[in-house]
């Protein structure tokens, strides 16, 4: 194992009935980082995580998890929150958390002690003796998340962790992820909600149809697109419009277009000369969402088909 890599994958392939759900994935997740796996629904994110964790065996390729080529050998140092959450409804939160810890090698008595503390810290101390079936969905998800970290893992793998949570709980979860990373834990999570990744991740992999379409830092992803210019004028028509690039688009009185390679100054001079009546003009950096749509959206598919 390279000391600074928590997860390494090379040429991973997973077939289901002949379909390549994971298609030649290479991945390096730096230790101690927050790493996002982004992609639309059905892109193969869950299958990739399952292969990385050893729940599924790959048809081709290799992966190491915390230095172990057999992922289950590292299971005691890994925490996993699956996309399809589930707990035993008749069990009590403390027992569930201790059980999930015991599965990862934590003695049951120690698991119970830690569970009580974690539940208190999460504001669920009053719910400790209630069966899971009587808890709200958000509370149950919190319990499962606590069960994922009770054994103090070195790697957290979270599959769509924000789905089903209200904004308050989403904020709490973001805080918890940051706390874990502050303690040196590596966090890998998948999502199709880009805002979370943009706020949290240092590096991301964007996946479409089982392939990695982009891998790098969030800044590198955003740099894949040129800056965008947004312009609002008093005049709706006139000579000034000839100053705009051909690919400028107008919506609700606001014009947007990519920043030309020559910069904004030549356009600005012509707009002023033609008395466009500039109300607002801004140059905006593309968001991760823009990069996501650019790399994985329908335009990317068309471009890919044309290239093929």
């Amino acid at each position: 194992m390279t000391a600074d890599v928590a997860i390494r994958a090379r040429g991973l392939v997973k077939l289901f009935d002949g379909v390549r759900a994971v298609d030649g994935v290479d991945l390096d997740v730096p230790a101690g980082s927050i790493y996002g796996v982004l992609g639309p629904n059905g892109a193969g994110k869950t299958s990739l995580l399952r292969v990385l964790l050893g729940i599924l065996d790959p048809d081709e390729g290799e992966r190491t998890l915390l230095g172990c080529s057999r992922p289950l050998d590292a299971a005691d140092r890994v925490g996993y929150l699956p996309e399809e959450r589930g707990l035993y409804p008749a069990m009590k939160p403390g027992e569930v958390i201790a059980f999930l810890g015991a599965l990862r090698g934590l003695p049951l008595a120690e698991g119970r002690r830690r569970a009580a503390r974690l539940l208190e810290d999460a504001g669920l101390g009053d719910a400790a003796d209630r069966p899971i079936r009587t808890l709200s969905k958000g509370m149950a998800q919190t319990v499962q998340l606590l069960g994922t970290i009770v054994h103090r893992p070195r790697l957290l793998v979270l599959d769509e962790p924000f789905s089903g949570l209200d904004p308050l709980n989403q904020g709490r979860l973001e805080g918890l992820i940051r706390d874990q990373v502050a303690e040196g834990v590596t966090v890998l999570f998948s999502t199709h909600v880009i805002a979370h990744a943009e706020r949290l991740c240092e590096r991301v992999a964007m996946i479409g149809k089982g392939k990695v379409r982009f891998e790098g830092t969030v800044d590198e992803a955003r740099d894949r697109l040129p800056y965008r210019v947004r312009l609002r004028t008093r005049e709706r028509a006139g000579e000034w419009r000839n100053a705009l690039p051909h690919d400028a688009a107008e919506e609700s009185g606001v014009w947007t277009f990519p920043l030309p390679a020559t910069g904004i100054e030549p356009i600005l001079e012509r707009l002023v000369a033609a008395k466009a009546g500039i109300e607002t003009l801004s140059i905006e950096r593309p968001s991760l969402h823009d990069a996501f749509v650019h790399l994985l959206g329908p335009h990317a598919e068309i471009a890919e088909e044309q290239a093929a």
């Binding site: 379909v19 759900a21 892109a43 399952r50 299971a75 699956p82 399809e84 599965l103 990862r104």
Partner: protein, 396 residues
């Protein structure tokens, strides 16, 4: 290996404690009482409605002296044989035409079971067609004895010295066969009642999505082993509770019979131990298959569909194993002992019929090997079928 058993222990412990400490477990524990209670209730109802009241009635149309003689004989015989064994005597005063009177009585609204007309040296017995049931022989006996009484007076009472010889508690071949069949039936019934639960055992984990958490944390083999061990422990708890209850009940209610039961060839203590061991291997072997089959199902409806063929297969195994009883060295008995899934049943039958213990040791090792293989294969099927993907795409 250590990790495998540690993980299996965690899962077995959870399954066991979550079931035993639930309110439903008491319901599960007393479930055998329901058929007993129903059976008892209906048999009482049946007894009240169907059982004839007392011994049959014999109407005697004869002179008072003849009737008196018959009644004395009956009393004397009843002292030795019991009152219910002999017909009750009903005296009818003779009319001019005894034959017509007898026919009238039998065709009446409350007829006697038979009619005897005198005199004693020329008796006639009347009974409805197909209604004799040995009553004519009893009537003949009464008349014979009454005539002897009239001729010679009452016989002297004879006292017989009584010597009781206890049967040694050892089975002959017929007893051994019965014990073998009883043991096999018990094993079969308990297994069919308890192992069937394993079919639906993974439905809980699949329906509440816990299965993926388990599969990510521990080897799938450990999930299987843990599930099996947990359910086996639950079943053994069930058996232990009922064994204690039945043993105490038998000791209190039938102390004499309890001591004089015929013994299986290996003796009762060893037979009991082998019974528990063979139940465990039978349960685990069938359970591994059931768990593997059940893990392919996604809904309780699919489980219900699977239950019927599974029950049929169990019946076949029982028939196969019991077919070899009575001939423990025959090819059928050996075939049933070698085939892993009928082996526990066949070997328990052998324990009742043959005293040698080494075949049981060999059989237990053989069954353990097949158990390991069954778990490996079932767990492999489970991995392939259950955890494919969260988002599968159609072929382009």
């Amino acid at each position: 290996m250590n990790r495998l058993f540690r993980s299996a222990w965690v899962i077995a412990r959870r399954d066991y404690s979550s079931t035993v400490f639930s309110k439903l477990f008491l319901f599960f524990l007393i479930s055998p009482l329901f058929p007993i209670l129903f059976g008892g209730t209906f048999s009482v109802i049946g007894t009240h409605s169907d059982t004839p009241q007392g011994p049959p009635t014999l109407a005697v149309i004869a002179s008072p002296a003849d009737v008196k003689a018959i009644a004395r004989v009956r009393s004397a015989l009843a002292e030795r044989l019991g009152d219910d064994v002999l017909p009750r005597i009903e005296h009818i005063v003779p009319q001019a035409a005894p034959h017509a009177e007898a026919v009238r009585l039998l065709r009446g609204s409350v007829p006697p079971d038979a009619v005897l007309t005198g005199p004693l040296d020329h008796p006639r017995f009347y009974v409805l067609s197909h209604g004799d049931n040995g009553l004519s022989d009893q009537a003949a006996l009464l008349v014979d004895q009454a005539r002897a009484l009239e001729a010679h007076g009452p016989p002297p009472g004879t006292s017989i010295e009584l010597w009781e010889v206890k049967q040694p508690p050892r089975a002959n071949s017929e007893d051994a066969r019965h014990i073998a069949l009883l043991g096999q039936t018990g094993l079969f019934v308990i297994t069919i009642l308890l192992a069937g639960m394993l079919l639906s055992n993974l439905i809980e984990e699949k329906s509440n999505k816990v299965i993926e958490v388990l599969a990510a944390a521990v080897p799938v083999d450990a999930i299987f082993l843990g599930k099996l061990a947990g359910m086996l422990a639950l079943s053994l708890t069930f058996i232990a509770v009922w064994s204690i209850v039945l043993a105490l009940g038998a000791t209190v209610a039938l102390p004499a019979q309890f001591g004089s039961l015929p013994s299986p060839a290996v003796g009762w203590p060893v037979f009991g131990v082998l019974g528990v061991l063979y139940f465990s291997t039978s349960y685990l072997l069938l359970g591994a298959v059931f768990l593997g089959i059940g893990s392919q199902a996604s809904t309780p409806r699919e489980i219900q569909i699977m239950s019927m063929p599974v029950t049929m297969i169990q019946l076949l195994l029982f028939g196969f194993a019991s077919a070899g009883l009575g001939d423990p060295d025959g090819w059928l008995a050996w075939a049933a002992a070698i085939f892993p899934w009928s082996s526990p049943l066949a070997m328990l039958g052998r324990a009742a019929e043959e005293p040698a213990l080494w075949p049981h040791l060999a059989a237990l090792v053989w069954q353990a090997l097949w158990l390991a293989l069954a778990i490996r294969i079932a767990a492999g099927r489970f991995r392939v079928a259950v955890l494919k993907s969260g988002g599968r795409r159609k072929k382009a």
